[in-house]
């Protein structure tokens, strides 16, 4: 794990790691757009699945929706002090 430690604790290397991450995302999104044109193996069940990079967009929206929606629910209603049940 020395390798990982070097990558994470050195700011310059961490920035490079981040850049690789974004590059990876671009590759994934592009390949998702390209896949149906390269391989004609299956059709989508729903029309929206044919939108370009649909799953990537939906993944990002889902993630944001889950975090924001849950936090709102938690703050407004569900979350209580840790000793709530002990008092």
């Amino acid at each position: 794990m020395k390798f990982l430690e070097r990558q994470l604790e050195d700011p310059a290397r961490l920035t490079r790691l981040k850049r690789w991450f974004y590059a990876g995302l671009a590759v994934v999104a592009l390949s998702e757009i390209a896949a149906p044109y390269v391989f004609h193996e299956e059709h989508a069940e729903f029309a929206f699945e044919n939108l370009p990079a649909w799953e990537s967009v939906y993944g990002l929206i889902s993630c944001a929706a889950i975090i924001i929606g849950s936090k709102l629910l938690g703050k407004l209603w569900l979350m209580r002090r840790e000793d709530y049940y002990d008092r």
Partner: protein, 587 residues
């Protein structure tokens, strides 16, 4: 029972009692050999009906062996083996006996062909699970265990009541598809019993309440048996029940929402059990061959990857004694092997290609698409994103990376790593060679998980979920809090009701007191004193009168009675003569 057929569950339940009587290496050997034997028995079993016992005019079937029960029995036996390896270092015989019994009962429930033996085995499972919680021996675990028992005794009674109704209506207790009883009370009762065991909200708050309080090794067994045994029962009895489709999808999202709010590592994972079982319940509801295969495959894969995750979080808990994500961080430096194995489980639950979740979860999602259920498809995909967000990103980030807490752990004992390694290997093997799992599913599989579109779609979804995670990271910091769930009703609801009850009771008591005073003092005591007067005047006088009269009478008699024996004899003789005269003359 035929000699050729030995119940693998019986091997575990009876064999468990060997463990306390042997020591050292021999004990460890027994702990590994028993589940191995059970697994081999399951693997060698041929479909058929075995172990039928006549009981009260009914047939109890202990060995209904078909493709569905076989595939569940494989994974239950395998998990018992993996869990026992993980627990080899634990110096507590009670835990081992209970864990083996728990696994044996899960096998018993799987092979049970009638509702009565199913009921008995689910009760054994409930009791074993409670013991695994109590054996942590902390006040919190004892309280959580009682709550677990409360819920599961209720569920067991629902199953029993449903069984009795079906018995009285049809005269049979065979356990099969319940669709013939749809709409009846028996149908509802048995469905509720299974839904409680499957932790379907709002009946599922017992799961995240109890599992984080169980022992480190016991929790591994708990994650596998109760909920997945319920999924098996739902497939058996309630395939194609429409209400389960939406309920399952809602359940998948519910677990995700609570996981965002959760700070306790094992409780976060527990909420994700609910979320994942949601996929299975949804698949059961859809009920097509693909959906049932998907629910079964996902249960199989889920048991293994959830075991890895709980073993990983348990290892951190055992080594550092910390359970809150907010108190961890920076552990990757000292626990790299644990981290690696944990991540295998995390990738499997997140359905990353080449890991088991990818080949199982997608069957359920595809079955939703195949039956043109758009809302369900979108909800399940949304929940997939949430699964990766928490189990694959949030938990490892705060536990192993994140802000260095200064906590310095070390790798757990080697047997724990071997246990994790076995389960992690299974996750990868299933992911890489899905046909190994597919060939054991209840229906023939035509599903191909590795298409270019499916792989790129999944990677896109996961990648951009990760992007969202890093962008919103500062909102995700775990907070020391608890989240309200339906267990509120029996944890706080009751105490909120109690003061009201007290006031009500006090009022009733006051009224009763008043009534008591009036009735007692005025009427009862009054009547009493009148009776006493009566006693003094009438009864006493009567008694005295009778006494006096008797005295006078006896004084008079004394004059006639001389006390000489010959006179008495003469009187007797006269009497006898008179009797003879009567008899002779026929008077």
């Amino acid at each position: 029972m035929t000699v050729e057929w030995v119940h693998p569950g019986l091997v575990l339940i009876v064999g468990a009692w060997v463990v306390p009587f042997v020591k050292g290496r021999l004990k460890q050997l027994a702990m590994v050999l028993l589940p191995t034997a059970a697994l081999l028995l399951c693997l060698r079993m041929e479909p058929g009906t075995y172990g039928t016992v006549a009981f009260l005019g009914q047939e109890l079937v202990f060995g209904r062996v078909d493709r569905l029960s076989l595939v569940f029995s494989y994974v239950f036996a395998l998990l018992t083996l993996i869990g026992m390896v993980y627990a080899l270092h634990v110096d507590d015989d009670s835990q081992h006996v209970v864990a083996l019994t728990y696994g044996g009962a899960a096998l018993g429930a799987t092979f049970a062909g009638d509702l009565l033996s199913l009921f008995v085995f689910s009760e054994i499972m409930a009791v074993s699970a409670v013991l695994l919680v109590w054996l942590r021996r902390t006040p919190a675990s004892i309280a959580a265990g009682f709550r677990y028992l409360l819920v599961h005794v209720f569920g067991g009674l629902c199953l029993l009541a449903g069984t009795v109704l079906i018995w009285s209506q049809t005269g049979s207790i065979a356990f099969g598809s319940m669709s013939a009883y749809a709409g009846s009370a028996a149908f509802g009762l048995i469905l509720v019993a299974f839904l409680i065991n499957a932790a379907v909200p709002p009946l599922g708050a017992w799961l995240p309440d109890a599992y984080p309080e169980a022992t480190v090794t016991g929790a591994v067994f708990m994650t596998a048996f109760t909920t997945k045994s319920a999924v098996y029962c739902l497939i058996r009895g309630f395939a194609g029940t429409e209400i389960l489709v939406w309920w399952g999808a809602a359940m998948a999202l519910y677990g995700v929402v609570y996981a965002v709010l959760e700070n306790d590592a094992r409780r976060l994972l527990a909420y994700h059990i609910i979320s994942q079982v949601g996929y299975m319940v949804c698949g059961v509801g859809i009920g097509t061959e693909l959906a049932i295969n998907g629910a079964t495959a996902h249960a199989f894969a889920h048991i293994l990857y959830k075991a890895v995750l709980f073993m990983g979080a348990g290892a951190v808990l055992e080594v550092t004694g910390r359970r809150k994500l907010g108190e961890m961080g920076g552990l990757y430096k000292t626990m790299p092997v644990t981290l690696t194995l944990y991540m295998v489980g995390a990738f499997a639950i997140s359905a990353v290609p080449l890991f088991s979740g990818f080949v199982s979860k997608s069957m359920v999602v595809s079955s939703a698409a195949e039956t043109s259920r758009m809302g369900i498809f979108l909800a399940l995909t949304l929940a997939s994103s949430g699964t990766f967000l928490h189990t694959g990103l949030k938990l490892p980030y705060y536990m192993f990376f994140g802000k260095d807490s200064g906590l310095r752990g070390h790798e757990p004992s080697s047997n724990m790593l071997v246990g994790m390694g076995l389960a992690a290997a299974a996750c990868v093997i299933i992911g890489v060679f899905p046909s190994l799992l597919y060939e054991h599913l209840p229906f023939a599989v035509e599903y191909a998980p590795y298409t270019a579109r499916h792989v790129t779609d999944t990677l896109g979804m996961l990648g951009f979920t990760a992007l969202g995670f890093f962008l919103l990271l500062k909102h995700l910091d775990p907070e020391p809090s608890v989240s309200l769930d339906t267990d509120w009703f029996y944890r706080r609801g009751v105490s909120a009701v109690l003061p009201g009850l007290n006031r009500g009771l006090a009022l009733i008591e006051g009224v009763v007191g008043q009534v008591y005073e009036v009735v007692m003092q005025r009427y009862v005591l009054g009547a009493g004193s009148r009776l006493r007067d009566l006693d003094a005047r009438a009864i006493d006088a009567a008694a005295v009168g009778v006494g006096r009269y008797t005295e006078t009478l006896s004084r008079d008699l004394r004059g006639t009675v001389t006390g000489n024996a010959q006179y008495y004899g003469l009187v007797m003789a006269a009497g006898v003569l008179a009797a003879i005269a009567l008899a002779v003359f026929g008077l």
